[in-house]
């Protein structure tokens, strides 16, 4: 027999209590992992955003368009390397609950400003040639089992009517954080039809995407662009894509903050659960610790017994929880519409935090019972009546 065996046997002494404690820890770790994953998925959006890409939009609101004529003017500003533009199309493809971005873009320039969308050059050439063609992200292709040459039909809402497209290409995401759930088609194709069907809505651009050569000039170029259209009917607001995304995220900031706080509150709850179990266990064993000390076992052994048991339970609970977190997060990422979080998976930091939390809890939960066991004199331990 080793002292380890005694730890093990002690932990399993009250099977129901230990099982419930382990279960409680597992559930809490799953909740922790899930919340951390949501939090980190939000911030992935910021990280993925490019720092040398500017977004120029209507100053009052994102929903008001800008004139097409701004493109030539923005291009003339020194330091600007590329200008492209896009419109939010909206619409529905098959299932209105399945969300992905659908945008009308300038086919000639758009893929120059989003180099993280990797399109085979032949497919890109075909796309530029065919007015009713589109390029879709690899995740859309996978989700709907689509391939080059297939038809996609959208039901428009912002742009009413039925819109038919042929898939000319499929882009692959360059980075893990790249959104591979976008559908991009010809701005001209949409614009031509608007000219005929809804006069007055032609030649409108949702926003410009401006590529700058030197990201340190971003701020300066942004104000130059906005200055250009000052006092015109359509003033602009230009910011880096990262600032743009951050603004979007900070709108949800309080939710994220509360999730953050909640995830740590959960750690606190696990601590109370395990702490309670350990205090109860140590109290019941007051007499046994006195016996062990009488037999010559030292403080080191007593600490080992209590600490070992606490660690055993917290790691078992933490381990089970962590193992279950993976399939659960994977399950969630299946049901969460793809376009909301480009990346929804457990990050290394989440695993590290979970393990770290389990470790910390194991240590903290054993402090009080250890203190008590060591502080009790042998003779008092024998006289103790639980």
């Amino acid at each position: 027999m080793k002292i380890f065996k005694l730890i093990f046997k002690n932990a399993l002494r009250h099977k129901l209590r230990t099982t419930l404690t382990i279960l409680g820890i597992s559930i809490a770790v799953i909740a922790f992992g899930l919340l951390r994953t949501v939090v980190s998925a939000w911030y992935v959006g910021v990280d993925a955003a490019s720092a040398n890409r500017l977004i120029t939009r209507q100053a009052v609101s994102f929903i008001f368009p800008l004139p097409l004529s701004y493109k030539d003017k923005i291009e003339k500003i020194p330091g600007v390397t590329d200008v492209s533009y896009a419109n939010w199309f909206g619409g529905v493809y098959k299932d209105k609950n399945q969300f992905f971005s659908r945008m009308a873009v300038d086919p000639e320039t758009y893929f120059d400003v989003v180099p993280e969308f990797v399109v085979p050059s032949q497919e890109l050439e075909n796309f530029k040639k065919e007015r009713n063609s589109c390029i879709i992200g690899a995740d859309i292709a996978k989700l709907y089992k689509l391939k080059v040459g297939d038809q996609m039909s959208l039901e428009g809402d912002i742009y009413p009517g039925t819109w038919d497209f042929v898939i000319a290409g499929i882009y692959q995401p360059k980075f893990k954080t790249t959104d591979a759930m976008q559908m991009l088609f010809h701005w001209d194709y949409v614009n031509e039809r608007m000219k005929v069907e809804m006069p007055g809505r032609e030649n409108q651009v949702g926003w410009y995407v401006v590529q700058v050569g030197d990201p340190s000039k971003s701020a300066q170029i942004s104000s130059q662009i906005d200055a250009l259209f000052k006092n015109s009917p359509d003033e602009t607001k230009t910011e880096t894509e990262r600032a743009f995304t951050q603004g979007f995220i900070s709108a949800y900031g309080s939710i994220i903050t509360s999730m953050n706080v909640m995830s740590w509150a959960i750690v606190g709850i696990i601590l109370l659960v395990l702490g309670n179990t350990m205090v109860m266990a140590a109290r019941e064993r007051t007499r046994e610790y006195a016996v062990l000390k009488t037999l010559g076992f030292s403080a080191k052994h007593i600490v080992g017994l209590i600490f070992g048991e606490s660690m055993f339970i917290s790691f078992l609970g933490g381990g089970i929880g962590l193992l279950l977190t993976f399939p659960i997060v994977a399950g969630f990422s299946q049901v969460i519409p793809k376009g909301i979080f480009p990346v929804f998976e457990i990050e290394t930091i989440t695993v590290v935090l979970s393990v770290g939390a389990a470790l910390l809890i194991g240590v903290l939960a054993s402090i009080f019972p250890i203190q008590r066991a060591l502080g009790t004199k042998i003779v008092d331990g024998f006289r103790f009546v639980g």
Partner: protein
């Protein structure tokens, strides 16, 4: 014969809420090697306290205390623990076995602190359990044993390290008459056959009669009285 336990002018008080509770007054006592000493006295007279001092699980407030050649009042906490593990075997009224361990594992417990090899440990544990007549109950857990059997396991645990002194605090206090007789016979045998010096606290006149010397403790004062 030499005195294996020498107690000189030992007093012991407990402190509760800065209130002194005197328990033992100026006790002087010598126990010869190989003696079987019984301590009797009314409840609360300090028998357990005196036994605890001899066994090195408590310290005197005043006086000198030498057991098995060591001045144990002067030892530090960990040195004292080490001293106990190699010099004293303990038998308690309520057996104090660990419920999660089998009879074998309970007896093995004190050997975890030794450097004995696995097979040597096995030999010692089996020998001790055979002496107390429980060689066939090694895999039983305490709750699967009778009170008398539990106490015998506790005695096996006390002798497995082959200590020179055994202390027993009312070892038959919680047992029926027959079991008590068995335990006392076993104690006698350990004293005569295995030459253990035994100090036993008891309430029971019959138990006391098995000893070679009987002392009375009354309100913290010793008085000789017995066959020795």
């Amino acid at each position: 014969m030499s005195e294996i336990i020498q107690i000189k002018n030992v007093s012991k008080s407990y402190w509760r809420n800065s209130l002194e509770i005197p328990v033992l007054h100026n006790i002087t006592l010598g126990v010869e090697e190989g003696e079987f000493l019984a301590l009797m006295g009314p409840s609360g007279s300090g028998k357990t306290t005196l036994l605890n001092l001899i066994a090195g699980i408590d310290r005197p407030s005043r006086g000198e205390l030498s057991v098995a050649g060591t001045d144990i009042a002067k030892l530090g906490e960990s040195a004292l623990a080490k001293w106990r593990s190699s010099n004293v075997g303990f038998v308690f009224q309520f057996y104090n076995l660990l419920p999660v361990l089998t009879a074998y594992e309970n007896v093995e417990l004190p050997l975890l602190l030794t450097k004995l090899s696995k097979s040597e440990k096995k030999k010692h544990v089996e020998a001790a359990l055979n002496i107390v007549g429980l060689g066939d109950r090694m895999k039983h857990y305490p709750k699967q044993l009778s009170g008398g059997q539990e106490q015998r396991v506790a005695i096996a645990r006390a002798i497995v390290t082959d200590p020179v002194i055994l202390v027993a605090d009312e070892p038959t206090g919680d047992l029926d008459k027959n079991s008590a007789q068995e335990i006392l016979t076993l104690m006698e045998r350990l004293n005569k056959e295995f030459k253990k010096t035994i100090v036993m606290v008891t309430h029971d006149q019959h138990a006391a009669e098995r000893a070679s010397r009987l002392l009375h403790l009354d309100k913290g004062d010793l008085s000789a009285n017995g066959k020795g």
